[in-house]
């Protein structure tokens, strides 16, 4: 990827993030922060590549920690976001399930 193309991707992605979140109701701020926290768990693929190409013991040790932390970010972020969003139901949905 050439530098300019990368820069364009950066710019467009920045606008996308801004637009996607700009119309979010306050009630979803915490789940959405949690959701975006999950999304940057994509660092896992980078950590895998870094560890996958590590050669010295030092690089391997750091890479190992990196993959471990990244997996924690991705999995933990997913679990807590899913748990939170699972609870969001409207009155209608609750009545339909008979749990009011």
């Amino acid at each position: 990827m050439t530098g300019m193309v990368a820069l364009y991707i950066f710019m467009l992605a920045a606008f996308t993030g801004y637009e996607v979140i700009s119309r979010v109701p306050v009630i979803l701020h915490t789940p959405l922060m949690s959701g975006s926290n999950f999304v940057h768990g994509i660092v896992l693929v980078g950590a895998m590549v870094a560890l996958g190409s590590a050669t010295t013991p030092l690089e391997k040790a750091i890479g190992f920690v990196g993959v471990l932390l990244a997996a924690g970010n991705a999995v933990g972020g997913y679990v807590v976001t899913e748990r939170m969003l699972e609870m969001f139901k409207s009155s209608g949905q609750r009545k339909a399930k008979g749990t009011h």
Binding site: A13, Y18, G46, A54, N73, V75, R83
Partner: protein, 462 residues
């Protein structure tokens, strides 16, 4: 296999799909109706990207990669399933810090190896490294503070100068690393140590009340660090996902800071969120206590009750009792609404999550703009463990630190009932003029216990 097929093509195609799924997922998460499916979409994207990365050309060390993923994943799964909803903010801080640490680790592997080619890539790796490391250690401090492991906010004169000095030293070492592709390991180590120290010293002085803003900021920073390391690794999925989170998180941080009527710089550098020092403003009048039985009668015969929850409700785990109380009132024909201030609790929307956990439908919950006009027609405003977000001095007293912060107009209700543990001031240390108004009565006690008494009182009305 056809000739045009290759592992790298499959990887690029999968990362493309992942980026689309992430953005669609975040989009769906921004509406209550589709939010649940949003995380499933994003999760599918993560699964695709992770699996395909095993095919990366030239990958080795699988015997290390798999155990690391397993240990990190299982620990996070276990803790994420167990954590109580009240403690969600610190768990998010913790997972976020892990992401920042991973970004810093990627930078460290690249920089120790001297593998970065060119000044631009080297600088990006250094920049992502320092941001990731600050987010890592800073988030751990935020976690410690919210979890109650760190109770004191360390503050001393010259602190900002010290932070600036640490930042300058870290950047200087970083510049040396970026300029020499084969910088000595000692310099790389020094760079990362300083970056980690900076995260600690930056976060320690910030008070508990400001933690939502800080966690959101570190979330954005981790996103940015991931995006930067994506450039270093030439990984489009990381660039796009990291940058999207970086900008979305920055916006969210600004929204939160604005809701508190403070600039981000003010949150980071003024350190008022904890003690506030002088309790400004002269409050006249007295605190007038009331018994639960009287409140029960008052609410049972009201036509409209607005509940204002705050962090005190979360601490006491009172959300279930409060909903039980609200249901009793609704059955009696009382209109019940929940009013949520943007910064109530420890994170934006924290109260919504807790109320959702208790089973409160989200259409009964209103934010500040929707509900503020309705207080004038409410018979009772029930304040549960909220303080600064209903303090009317924010409207009137120019000398108050919270002057100008938008507040819930609870004081406009005919009767204001405040459930509060003791007579102390709020998180900000500011006396609350609301408590001294003629139409305000104080119901002292733990929020859960008080709510239980109110339930009994309403039932007794028959």
């Amino acid at each position: 296999m056809p000739a045009w097929f290759s592992a790298s093509l499959a990887i690029q195609a999968s990362y493309f799909v992942t980026a689309v799924l992430f953005i669609m997922g975040l989009k769906r998460m921004s509406s209550p109706v589709t939010a649940r499916s949003g995380i499933l979409w994003a999760g599918a994207g993560m699964g695709v990207a992770t699996l395909i990365t095993f095919l990366y050309p030239g990958m080795s060390n699988y015997e290390l990669i798999l155990p690391a993923m397993l240990v990190g994943g299982v620990l996070a799964w276990w803790s994420g399933k167990r954590v109580a909803m009240t403690n969600m903010p610190q768990m998010i801080a913790l997972y976020n810090g892990m992401g920042g640490g991973a970004a810093a680790a990627i930078a460290a592997v690249e920089l120790y190896r001297g593998g970065t080619s060119g000044y631009v890539t080297g600088s990006l790796a250094v920049l992502g490294g320092i941001i990731g490391a600050v987010s890592f250690s800073g988030s751990l401090i935020a976690f410690g503070k919210l979890q109650g492991l760190i109770n004191r906010s360390l503050r001393f004169s010259g602190q900002q100068i010290l932070n600036l000095a640490v930042l300058a030293a870290a950047l200087a070492l970083g510049a040396m690393v970026a300029a020499h592709f084969n910088a000595s390991p000692a310099i790389v180590t020094g760079f990362f140590v300083l970056a980690l120290v900076l995260g600690v010293t930056m976060t320690l002085p910030i008070g508990g009340a400001d933690m939502p803003v800080v966690i959101s900021l570190y979330n954005a920073l981790t996103g940015l660090a991931v995006g930067l390391e994506g450039f270093v690794l030439d990984n489009a999925a990381m660039i796009i996902a990291g940058t999207v989170v970086g900008s979305a998180g920055t916006l969210l941080t600004q929204l939160m800071a604005r809701a508190m009527n403070r600039s981000l710089g003010n949150v980071l550098f003024s350190g008022f969120g904890d003690t506030g020092g002088e309790a400004t403003g002269t409050v006249t009048g007295s605190l007038k206590p009331i018994e639960a039985a009287d409140v029960g009668v008052m609410m049972a015969f009201a036509s409209k009750v607005i509940v204002v929850p705050g962090y005190g409700m979360a601490v006491a785990q009172a959300q279930h009792k409060i909903w039980e109380l609200a249901q009793l009132l609704i059955e009696r024909g009382v209109t019940v609404r929940f009013a949520i201030h943007p910064v109530a609790g420890r994170m934006p929307g924290h109260m919504n999550v807790l109320l959702a956990e208790a089973g409160v439908p989200y259409d009964l919950i209103s934010d500040l703009d929707e509900i503020n006009a309705e207080f004038e027609t409410a018979d009772v405003a029930l304040i549960i463990g909220a303080n600064d977000v209903v303090n009317p001095v924010a409207r009137t007293d120019k000398s108050s630190p919270i002057y100008g912060m938008p507040i819930l107009n609870a004081d406009k209700a005919k009767n204001v009932i405040v459930i509060k543990r003791g007579k102390g001031a709020g998180f900000s240390g500011i006396e609350n003029a609301l408590f001294y108004l003629d139409n305000t009565r104080m119901l002292y006690g733990d929020a859960q216990k008080a709510a239980g008494e109110l339930i009994a009182a309403v039932k007794a009305v028959g």
